[in-house]
Subunit: 347 residues, 2 copies
């Protein structure tokens, strides 16, 4: 693999991304920074095809990058564009400032991304995993009916109705509320575990068996808290995208379960994943560009786009990168990005 071959591969990807048509040797030879004849390029392209970086839709057509080709392009060959200052300013305006609620911040980023990229945006909220329980309330709302309210230091609120087998007296409710406050107040959401609740069930059962549904209710709510919420917005953009199978897109929109887990397990820094390398999003020929934002130095959530594999990586990656950095800063109460830019990482 000499330098020229890499240059040709990059040119093929660029050209294919630009036009959407299979790229022939002639059109490559006419590019500015290529100074060899089409015959030479043909030879090189044949090698690139043998190595699995390019492929032909049919014998007499031009070449198209394989996912392996894209991978090499993204990881080694491409240099992302610089984001001009005015673009940054525009993004800043769309995002909001440090007083914007976190949820809205992420939402705004998603909107910005769909508008700019014409792809679907994927965001996960800043999971309250790293926050602590600040309040637990149990409110009687009817005959043997109670509502549990769980509030975290980051402002997440979860509620759940709960039916008991008996009505609780004022003292019993007081006892329970106190017990719970004592055991959960200030506990990190991430530290909440099934075992912990099992112990609590055992403890309150000694006092009164019928309280255990309440503990179980709280346990379920805490699971909700630990779970990160994934939102895909602008997914209609994918439907108007020719190279994606509409059936697969619709199926994906309806159940996007696998993605959440994948995002959580991803490395930090900008990531590009292809559906062919990964079975969490089964849209053929699609790619996922994501990055994680941080809050208080810890990874809090993800942000990115899903689009066709043939997407302008050079252009989009800087947007995703800038948005995650900016969101991280805003969530920490800074108005400007402080730390150094992150590197592109292998998957």
């Amino acid at each position: 693999m000499d330098d020229r071959k890499l240059k040709i591969l990059a040119a093929v990807v660029d050209e294919y991304v630009r036009t959407g048509e299979p790229v022939g040797s002639k059109s490559i030879s006419q590019l500015e920074n290529i100074n060899v004849s089409s015959a030479t390029i043909r030879n090189d392209m044949a090698v690139l095809e043998q190595l699995g970086y390019l492929e032909q839709p049919h014998t007499s057509a031009g070449r198209v990058p394989t996912f392996k080709g894209y991978r090499l392009y993204i990881d080694e060959l491409m240099t992302p564009h610089d984001l001009p200052e005015e673009e940054k300013r525009m993004l800043d305006e769309m995002l909001g400032d440090k007083d914007t609620p976190e949820e809205l911040l992420v939402q705004n980023a998603a909107t910005a991304l769909t508008e700019i990229t014409h792809c679907a945006a994927v965001v996960t909220n800043a999971a309250p995993r790293f926050s602590v329980i600040s309040k637990v309330e149990v409110i009687p709302t009817g005959k043997r009916l109670y509502v549990i309210l769980l509030i975290t230091s980051s402002g997440s609120i979860k509620n759940k109705a709960c039916r008991l087998e008996f009505d609780l007296s004022h003292e019993q409710l007081d006892f329970f509320t106190h017990y719970i406050e004592e055991n959960l107040s200030g506990v990190s959401v991430d530290d909440l575990s099934e075992e912990m609740f099992d112990k609590m069930v055992a403890a309150v059962s000694a006092y009164m068996v019928s309280l255990s549904p309440l503990v179980k209710g709280i346990c379920e709510l805490s699971e909700d808290l630990r779970q990160q919420e994934l939102t895909v917005s602008g997914s209609e953009k994918l439907l108007s995208c020719e190279e994606l199978d509409k059936m697969e897109v619709v199926k994906f929109i309806e159940h996007k379960d696998g993605l959440s887990e994948m995002l959580e397990n991803a490395f930090s820094g900008i990531q590009v994943k292809f559906s062919s390398e990964n079975d969490s999003f089964a849209i053929g020929n699609s790619s996922l560009i994501v990055s994680k934002y941080r809050k208080g130095g810890k990874e809090a959530g993800s942000l990115g786009i899903i689009g066709p594999m043939r997407v302008d990586y050079k252009k989009i990656i800087p947007y995703v990168e800038y948005l995650t950095q900016k969101i991280s800063a805003l969530m920490d109460g800074d108005d400007d990005i402080i730390n150094a830019p992150s590197d592109i990482q292998e998957p």
Copy 2:
């Protein structure tokens, strides 16, 4: 329009629904309960075409029902199949029992419908519109931070965080909570209005200006309650349906706004609507089969399918009908359907 012509129309619809091909006079003449020659049928079909009940894709093809033809068929000619007991039992199992949460009940019905009909299912949740406010709580959760909790008699719970400009004293909070309880407790969700809240803002402002964000918060929550949520599931089925225009389906999936209103304004009982008669769902050649389920005797939500106009009405209508009846029963805590079957109504 003599009897034989109606019989022929019904036969054409049945045959077209079965095969999907334009129906010729010969295939009709070969049916069991038709005892006239193809020439006679040809004459009758020509009349039916002139009257607008049938049409020809092209001169030398068979006939296809127009939407007017379907309309007559559905309203007058067709006799829906009876749902066999085992099918009913299967549906019962898929739905759940009276302890199944309402939301899940409706969800399960949607899943059942998509599986059985291979069409998209449309459901609206049991809007809490007809229930009353049973409890309003304001809970301090931090510096100038409060959580509002709104609970209805039907068990819907909504919450919202609210930031005030000052911290409230214990008395102030008590005053406010009492005031709200007095004004909202027992009020029907449907009766809550902007003006009502405007008045309340004015009243509490006299006492303390900074309380108004709380009232506004409650107002927003009440709007949430009034809103009915429309869910379309299994819409990928529509994409694999040849007679529907994929573009239109995609557009519909993107914004299904009009449908919600239409469902709300619909009559009770089984309804069949065609896109050509209606502009709330602009998928050409599609039809909507819905019925409303009831809760406590009042219409609570809708349930049905969207599919091609060429759909097996005889088969599907009983399913939709049974499901709405069963859901109505389950929501009222009965395990079996009690009241008489409803009639088919004109739109």
